[in-house]
């Protein structure tokens, strides 16, 4: 049912849809919320964090145009759900979590589920993971008031970075950062396009 919603709202990439189908979200949410795991909405996971709504995870994954040979960096592991979705598609996932309790439990969960291509580190995501960079794509799951310069440095030429902006409880705006030579551009992507009643032709 969630998958249908995701498709209906515009996610087309087959690899992403297959991954979303494979990764069982109920394994990443707290016991108290298992019954809501397949609703298309964010759920609290403690420490003021949430597991993103499935549509946002799918949309963010699609927007970096993931390929099997990709090495992807994720900032903000949370429950590990986004990392698992990425790990189904790409070669390697490096994921960083600043809250030790969340990072450690996500690492254990991903290990238990057999994701050998996911590396979890508990540290400050601002500095990225220099020794494993540069990365083909970077997924920032925790919104930030600025784009950390070290992450831009660790993004490969032509690479893509995706960052959500807005409260996790509502429809978020996503920002895509692209690096082309010395020029860095951003593009605001609105997964749920706000359709104003006012249009040019009015």
């Amino acid at each position: 049912m969630v998958l249908q919603t995701i498709e209906r709202r515009g996610v087309k990439d087959n690899a992403v849809l297959k991954s979303m189908r494979s990764v069982k979200r109920h394994l990443f949410v707290p016991e108290t919320n298992v019954s809501n795991a397949y609703e298309d909405r964010p759920l609290p996971i403690g420490y003021g964090q949430t597991i993103s709504q499935p549509f946002i995870v799918a949309y963010m994954t699609e927007s970096i145009k993931p390929k099997p040979e990709y090495k992807v960096l994720e900032i903000g592991t949370g429950s590990g759900y986004q990392a698992a979705v990425l790990a189904e598609i790409v070669r390697e996932v490096y994921t960083i979590e600043i809250v030790p309790e969340l990072g450690n439990s996500a690492a254990a969960r991903l290990k238990k589920l057999g994701y050998t291509n996911v590396n979890v580190s508990v540290k400050d995501g601002y500095f990225g993971w220099e020794e494993h960079g540069p990365f083909d794509a970077i997924v920032v799951t925790a919104a930030a008031e600025f784009v950390p310069p070290p992450l831009l440095e660790q993004l490969k030429e032509g690479g893509r970075m995706i960052i959500p902006i807005g409260s996790p409880f509502m429809n978020q705006m996503l920002m895509l950062v692209e690096k082309k030579g010395k020029k860095i551009t951003t593009k605001s992507l609105m997964p749920v396009v706000f359709v104003p009643f006012t249009r040019k032709q009015d």
Partner: protein, 794 residues
């Protein structure tokens, strides 16, 4: 009646109830958010209505046992005040406002919290109501003590919050009702009551020694910050402005919407939080790497346009913009900030950490509201800056009901007249989605420029944006070639895009930061064109400029469009858009329904027909509605007048209550005389109607006077009106006591319920129609009792 004991006890009890109410606002604002505090307390105050209903049903029994019940209820109030905060922090009761819409179990906990906080108000109100009924013959004096006690309670709370942390307050306040109980304990049962008081005092001492630990929502700014590596609270100070905490962490950084070409953001040492909400970053000025970060944000635009010598920084907060101005070599900086606690901390406890920023020789610091300073200062500035508007990712409307006088049209006019010939006003905003803040800022600037006689405002407004922020600069002189070139160079270096600039090409607007479509620019162009009125009407959100009459800049909800938004966003997401105003409407619905039940319930006992019931409803609802509306307008107007929200509000409430108390004291002269009562209501009606139109001009014309003269002016405005407004309640009770004593608690209950409704309703009227109309409605509310008195003669 004991001439001294009963008035003293009611005064002590009333003081405790008001002080507890104010303490509770602080406590709930710390653990949740202000709007939830407002909602929970509004519902808890219905304890007055519930007490009145009970009293109406069991009046005779309770009056007969009043000697025993009064001290018992007062002591129980003390126990409840001391205990409910700790109970609310237990797992069974603790709710998280964010999770209300995500996990429905929290809705149940919210309901339990309502009931819990209703208990102390219910018990206290029951004692007060019982005194009103039992001693209705001396209602003037009793009500005088009630009002005086309430006024004193406000002052007590103001002193207590300066000395004690919010979680310590309830236990301290709880002493007052216990003392009230001891005052009225009957001689023959004093020993028994003394024992009960000892138990109560033991609980209070226990809560004083081990105050409840306040558990903040995990989604609050401070909760998330404390999860960062090495995070610790370095300093904590309580104040009437809220609980101030200074937090440090090695992973804390501040760089609002920083350019993608910036080398690195500043490593922030410390940040200030007020009631757990982000307030600002603590910075020094000698290390350029801390404040230099602002050079890489759009807010550096005015410095890129021209050399600035005289700069005024309004609402300077923790001083980041001051540090930035210093590093830019500004020779004369005027900073204006109303929060004295933050300024005191920066000047004393954190002087070393900030390199004595606030004592810098270039800086002149003013501890006053920004608008008040603007109306009093005659200096001219090259640049006036305002704090960043909105918050990253949207504020969910948490400021929707926060009066932002600095962002009204009148404020921009005042700023305009404080500019030098080449001066400019700079405002930066987060770009929200759907876009609201930037459009309202632009609309405000455009309308102000039009009103100042500038035909084409686009010659005087420049705007640039990064991926996250947009900065508007409104210039006194039309933008020149040199400035336009400087703006383009700055944008190119920083990877920003110009949004508004004379001679701007469409292709220049999205070179670095693209939107999915060009609707945003269409909106901007519509606002700067002649079709802006049609656009305001058609846009889904209210982006009409705020005015001093409707100073709610962050209120974007159009009630007429609510259903459409709910359908589009879904019921779970909608609250996160504009939770502030929505909660007010939800609160109004909840208290109106509950009030209706509480008002109707006693009628099963006292009967539905006859006995002037319609008149009683109109009379007591009218005076409650009118009184609260007046109180709210005065508070709002005097904040701007005196320049200090906390003290202006306290002084207003205290003056109103004391003069009303005096009116009540003399009410006996009026209750028996219908003609005099008619005269009083007519006077109130006329004064209020006149104030609707002349209050604002009077205050505006005298705002530059000395504090003494201003206080005298306010006293002259408030005293006669408040005196008259203190008369109708006791006079009305006294009159109906002669008709049917069974109606007394019912009438008092109507008054209590409608008072609670009125405070919420006044806010909605102010948002929708403006404060002038709140005053007009207050006048008409007082015409309802006038009508009933005229009718009673017939």
């Amino acid at each position: 009646m004991n001439a001294f004991k009963i008035p003293l006890s009611i005064a002590l009890l009333s003081a405790a109830i008001i002080a507890f109410q104010l303490a509770l606002i602080q406590i709930l604002s710390i653990v949740q958010w202000y709007h939830f505090a407002y909602m929970v307390i509004s519902i808890a105050l219905l304890g007055f209505g519930a007490a009145a209903s009970l009293l109406a049903v069991f009046r005779e029994k309770m009056v007969n046992n009043a000697e025993f019940l009064l001290p018992f209820l007062m002591t129980c109030t003390g126990i409840a005040i001391a205990s409910v905060t700790s109970i609310s922090q237990t797992a069974a009761f603790r709710f998280d406002s964010y999770l209300l819409f995500a996990e429905y179990s929290h809705t149940g906990r919210l309901m339990l919290t309502y009931l819990l906080f209703l208990i102390p108000f219910f018990l206290g109100a029951l004692a007060i109501g019982l005194i009103f009924v039992r001693y209705v013959d001396a209602i003037g004096k009793v009500y005088f003590a009630n009002l005086l006690g309430s006024g004193v309670g406000g002052i007590i709370a103001l002193f207590l919050v300066r000395m004690f942390f919010p979680n310590e307050l309830p236990a301290l306040i709880a002493i007052l009702p216990v003392l009230a109980g001891l005052t009225v304990a009957p001689g023959y049962k004093r020993f028994l009551h003394f024992g009960f008081s000892l138990i109560a005092l033991s609980i209070i001492i226990w809560k004083c020694v081990i105050p409840p630990r306040l558990i903040q929502s995990e989604f609050k700014d401070i909760s998330k910050t404390l999860l960062l590596p090495d995070a610790k609270i370095l300093l904590e100070k309580t104040s009437p402005y809220g609980n101030v905490q200074m937090v440090s962490s090695s992973a804390m950084r501040y760089a609002p919407g920083m350019s993608l070409s910036a080398p690195k953001p500043a490593q922030t040492k410390m940040a200030a939080f007020v009631n757990g909400d982000w307030f600002g970053v603590i910075t020094d000025w000698s290390r350029t790497d801390t404040s230099m970060v602002l050079d890489y944000t759009t807010s550096a635009l005015p410095y890129a346009m021209a050399e600035q010598e005289n700069v005024m920084i309004l609402q300077s907060g923790t001083g980041m913009d001051v540090a930035h101005a210093i590093t830019r070599g500004v020779r004369n900086i005027v900073a204006v900030e109303a929060n004295s606690t933050i300024l005191s901390i920066l000047q004393h406890e954190l002087a070393a950490e900030t390199d004595s920023l606030l004592s810098h020789s270039a800086l002149s610091l003013h501890n006053v509201e920004a608008r008040t300073f603007l109306s009093m200062d005659t200096t001219h500035f090259d640049l006036i800056t305002l704090p960043i508007v909105g918050t990253f990712g949207g504020s969910s409307g948490l400021n929707a009901l926060h009066e932002q006088f600095i962002l009204t049209k009148e404020a921009f006019r005042d700023m305009w007249f404080s500019l030098s010939a080449s001066g400019m006003i700079s405002v930066t905003s987060w770009i929200d989605y759907p876009v609201r803040n930037p459009l309202k800022i632009l609309a405000t600037m455009v309308e102000v420029l039009h009103e100042l006689g500038i035909e084409d405002p686009t010659n005087n407004i420049a705007a640039i944006r990064s991926w996250g922020t947009i900065t508007f600069v409104m210039t006194k002189a039309p933008l020149g070639e040199k400035e336009i070139a400087a703006i383009r160079t700055f944008c190119e270096a920083m990877m920003f895009d110009p949004v508004l600039l004379p001679g701007l090409g469409a292709e220049e607007r999205m070179r670095y930061n693209q939107f999915q479509d060009d609707l945003f620019f269409d909106y901007v162009d519509r606002i700067t064109s002649s079709g802006k009125e049609a656009f305001f009407a058609a846009y889904d959100f209210n982006i009409r400029p705020a005015t001093d009459n409707k100073p709610y800049f962050s209120q974007y909800i159009k009630l007429s469009n609510l259903e459409g938004l709910a359908n589009f966003l879904g019921n779970r997401s909608l609250p996160f858009f504009e939770i502030g105003y929505l909660l007010t409407i939800i609160t109004l619905i909840q208290i109106s329904v509950a009030s209706l039940v509480l008002i109707l319930l006693p009628l099963f006992k006292i009967g539905w027909k006859g006995e002037h019931k319609a008149g009683v409803v109109l009379y007591f609802a009218g005076i409650a509605l009118g009184y609260m509306f007046v109180e709210i307008v005065f508070i709002q107007r005097l904040i701007l007048y005196f320049g200090n929200p906390i003290y202006a509000a306290s002084a207003t409430i205290t003056a109103l209550l004391i003069f009303s108390g005096l009116g009540s004291y003399y009410s006996n002269f009026f209750s028996r005389d219908r003609k005099r009562l008619l005269m009083i209501f007519t006077v109130i009606f006329v004064i209020l109607f006149a104030y609707s139109f002349i209050l604002t001009p009077i205050l505006r014309d005298t705002v530059q006077a000395t504090v003494f003269l201003k206080s005298l002016t306010v006293l002259l405005i408030i005293a006669p009106l408040a005196f008259c407004m203190g008369i109708p309640f006791p006079a009305g009770l006294s009159r109906i006591s002669k008709m049917n004593t069974a109606l007394i608690p019912w009438a008092w209950g109507i008054n209590g319920c409608v008072s609670v409704i009125s405070t919420v309703l006044a806010t909605i009227v102010a948002v929708e129609l403006g404060f002038m109309w709140v005053m007009v409605f207050a006048a008409f509310a007082y015409s309802l009792p006038l009508f009933t008195i005229i009718k009673s003669h017939e």
